[in-house]
């Protein structure tokens, strides 16, 4: 009975979604005269950043990204607060089964490569697909691999929170120095260089690298908190 009500409800929702979304894009682009052309034009002519999404996320909507990073930080804090309990013995985790030699040796081999890939992704965030959030997530997966393979592998919460705080503070500081040297918060006050150079785009790569560090530290701390959970 309950399922029937739900299915009826979803059928109505689905019907209205289909009639409102299915005709989108039938004749040409959906959004005409939007901000797309402005962004694409300014990205090349003013900011000299190859990746338009990076320029939107970090420069045009940089304040949004600051809020987003804050939300991520709040989620990590809330998780720590909800799962908090007095830990008597930190360091050993309850694992379902100990990992074999192959898993241990393989993850030791893969760990530096994963970290390198993550660093590559967020350093080249303004040139190629990727960026701070993606690179940070890749680094966190490397730590997750190590935490799953070795039951005595541990990361220091202190170091993680220092990295996180410094990255966040420098993000705000760069925004504020844009305010003092130019007009607005997060204004691009550094020389922009040439398109498709590694050192181009002014403060955009610097801020994305900071975001990468922050996301990597936050996600690693989050994974570590949840993995240390035991009955």
């Amino acid at each position: 009975m309950k399922k029937l009500i739900v299915i009826l409800l979803l059928a109505v929702t689905g019907y209205f979604m289909v009639i409102s979304f299915m005709d989108l894009g039938k004749d040409g682009p959906v959004v005409k005269n939007g901000v797309k052309d402005f962004y694409l034009d300014k990205t090349v002519s003013e900011l000299k950043v190859a990746n338009t999404i990076t320029s939107i996320v970090v420069n045009f909507r940089g304040f949004d990204t600051l809020g987003e990073v804050t939300v991520l930080f709040l989620a990590a804090t809330a998780l720590g607060g909800i799962l908090y309990k007095k830990r008597h013995h930190v360091g050993e985790r309850s694992v379902l089964f100990p990992s074999s030699t192959i898993v241990k040796a393989g993850s030791k081999l893969l760990f530096p490569a994963i970290i390198l890939l993550g660093v590559y992704v967020f350093v080249h965030g303004h040139l190629s697909p990727g960026g701070g959030f993606q690179g940070g997530t890749i680094i966190a997966t490397g730590f997750l691999l190590m935490l799953l393979a070795y039951d005595n592998f541990s990361v220091s919460h202190k170091v993680l929170s220092y990295i996180e705080s410094f990255a966040g503070i420098f993000f705000v500081l760069f925004g504020l120095s844009g305010m003092f040297m130019g007009k607005t918060f997060l204004e691009n006050f550094m020389p922009v260089g040439n398109l498709n150079d590694l050192f181009s785009g002014g403060i955009i790569p610097i801020i994305y690298i900071l975001v990468g560090f922050k996301v990597a530290a936050e996600l690693t701390g989050l994974i570590y908190t949840v993995l240390n959970e035991k009955e």
Partner: protein, 124 residues
């Protein structure tokens, strides 16, 4: 890309994302396990992201990245705004999932069950 293929692709992406949203809502509304409810919410997330990206697509579009060789193809580029939006939405969705899972761990610690039927004061 010819017209027919584009139509199939467009209907596939839009219809598939709507289907994903409905599947996720169904799971979140009818399943009794808390983990399955969270999985359902994640599927809704994925469907909404796919729908937004699909709306931003233009015919014969390329990624909005000015790599060497693509500097002059501005007219063909897909809309970058939904992609930036979805990048934000993925991170927020991740944060929501993490907090929800931590609440589930807390509930499991108190009640020793994941079924919402067995947890009192939490019935549909």
């Amino acid at each position: 890309m010819n017209n027919e293929l584009y139509e199939i692709l467009r209907y596939g992406i839009l219809g598939g994302s709507i289907l994903l949203i409905l599947i996720g809502l169904y799971a979140a509304l009818t399943k009794r396990s808390l983990i399955k409810i969270i999985i359902g919410l994640s599927i809704v997330d994925g469907g909404i992201h796919l729908l937004l990206i699909g709306i931003g697509y233009v015919k014969n579009g390329t990624a909005p990245i000015f790599s060497p060789g693509f500097e002059n193809s501005t007219a063909n580029m897909v809309d970058p705004v939904p992609q930036a939006l979805v990048l934000t939405a993925i991170v927020i969705g991740f944060a929501v999932t993490a907090v929800a899972l931590s609440l589930v761990i807390r509930l499991y610690r108190h009640h020793n069950t994941l079924e919402i039927d067995e947890i009192k004061n939490l019935k549909w």
